[in-house]
């Protein structure tokens, strides 16, 4: 698919910047917070400080596995200066 903005062609690398995936990520993060609280109520023999790290460790893992560069990175256009019409 060809994307164009103000006559300039955009690089078609927006596939990782989708709101639906962001929602899925938010559920993953929130779910991890809930999970660590539930694990505490079950008497899991792990420090509450370590359990509290779970959502952040999980986020890092997701970034390491699916973050990447090139097509997986943030849209290159985000790094360009926006020049509106006068």
């Amino acid at each position: 698919m060809r994307l164009e903005l103000l006559g300039e062609e955009l690089e078609p690398d927006v596939d990782r910047w989708q709101p639906l995936r962001a929602i899925a990520g938010a559920y993953l993060f929130g779910g991890a917070i809930s999970l660590q609280l539930v694990l505490q109520t079950r008497g899991v023999p792990v420090s509450p400080f370590v359990l509290d790290m779970l959502p952040y460790v999980l986020s890092l893992a997701v970034l390491v596995v699916w973050g990447g560069t090139g097509r997986r990175a943030a849209p290159a256009s985000l790094g360009r200066v926006f020049q509106g019409s006068p």
């Binding site: 917070i33 539930v38 109520t41 400080f49 509290d52």
Partner: protein, 366 residues
């Protein structure tokens, strides 16, 4: 002297400007004479039915007792540079007594107090003092022991859940005292504790409370800044609750309310203000208890039968008279290690060293 004829006119203009400025600034910088201004900083909302509202109500009581005292009250002040700036600005506005009402204001308050030796400070729950900075708090384990007795009699599932901010020693001591009180009337009681990792996060508190109820708990307790979320979650699910910090939390649980431990700072704040006005303020380490008017047990709710109320009342007298102690040995922690030998007690002055959870509590103390 001057050969410049405009020099005098310039001097006169500078003089007039300086005079005007002095007149404008006078009411701002001049200390209020004979009248006291009190500044109080809250870390959260004064409508939290918890930690902050207890302090705010203390100030209201002080205002009723001493109507001539003026109050500068600010909510939701971040702990750190913001608090320091605000205290300095309160002093510029004439405050001569400042109550930085959160543990995290200790270091900023110490810095401001050192720079302003003529201003008096009262800081809650701290461990450092200055000649013009006094510290105050109230010892809570005995009250939590009594709460535990009432809850131990009310529970039917023998499972109680506690939502606690952080595993710090004073909170562990409260949970331990609660479990020991509950077990003194009902040896089957198990207390499950969840640490949310923060002093206020209603979403986490609601999740933790619901998870504890799902595990079969029918009584919930709470040690975070605002008890509202946990008490309401219990009420919605038809469970009972024991509260902390503020008496007014009872309105959130008309049916399931058992009781609560609450701070009542009004008489102390009145005393501080009087001391500053008559020049008798001195730096002290004030620690209240159920035996004075800084800490109270909330009235029992409809869930508590009369014989239980009488039992708790009798034990309260024994605790006050020194005939009973919440941490009487032998006590083991929840990994089986002996912590208090038979015939000994864990002194209430050593609570800062209580880094374990007593047998019967499910949870990790660190």
């Amino acid at each position: 002297m001057t050969s410049n004829p405009g020099g005098n006119a310039l001097k006169a203009r500078v003089l007039v400007t300086a005079l005007l400025a002095a007149l404008l600034l006078y009411p701002v910088v001049a200390p209020s004479q004979g009248k006291l201004t009190v500044g109080i900083l809250h870390v959260g909302s004064i409508n939290d039915a918890g930690y902050n509202q207890a302090h705010a109500e203390g100030i209201q009581v002080m205002k009723r007792n001493l109507p001539e005292v003026e109050v500068i009250e600010v909510e939701n002040v971040a702990e750190g540079a913001d608090a320091e700036r605000l205290m300095e600005s309160m002093i510029k506005r004439g405050a001569r007594l400042i109550i930085p009402a959160s543990f995290g204001y200790l270091e900023p308050a110490l810095r401001v107090a050192q720079r302003n030796p003529e201003v008096k400070f009262a800081h809650p729950g701290g461990y450092k003092r200055l000649p013009n900075l006094t510290t105050y708090w109230a010892s809570t384990p005995e009250a939590f022991y009594l709460l535990g007795m009432a809850a131990g009699k009310v529970t039917k599932t023998n499972k109680i859940g506690y939502v606690v901010a952080l595993p710090i020693s004073f909170f562990l001591a409260n949970v331990n005292a609660f479990e020991l009180g509950a077990r003194s009337v009902n040896p089957q009681v198990e207390t499950r504790v969840v640490f949310t990792g923060t002093f206020l996060d209603p979403a986490k508190e609601a999740t933790a409370a619901a998870a504890l109820l799902d595990q079969g708990a029918d009584v919930l307790g709470v040690i975070v800044d605002s008890p509202i979320t946990v008490v309401q979650t219990a009420e919605k699910r038809g469970a009972y609750s024991v509260s902390y910090h503020y008496l007014g939390a009872q309105k959130f649980a008309p049916k399931g309310w058992i009781s609560g431990v609450a701070f009542t700072w009004g008489s102390l704040y009145t005393r501080f203000a009087r001391q500053v006005m008559d020049g008798t303020f001195k730096s002290e380490n004030i620690l209240g208890s159920l035996n004075d008017d800084l800490l109270v047990m909330a009235p029992f709710g409809p869930a508590v039968p009369a014989d239980t109320a009488a039992l708790v009342g009798a034990r309260r007298k024994d605790l006050a008279a020194g005939k009973a102690h919440p941490f009487t040995g032998p006590l083991k922690d929840n990994t089986g290690v002996e912590r208090v030998k038979a015939g000994e007690v864990f002194p209430l002055t050593d609570l800062g060293k209580m880094n374990w959870l007593v047998e019967g509590v499910v949870g990790q103390p660190r």
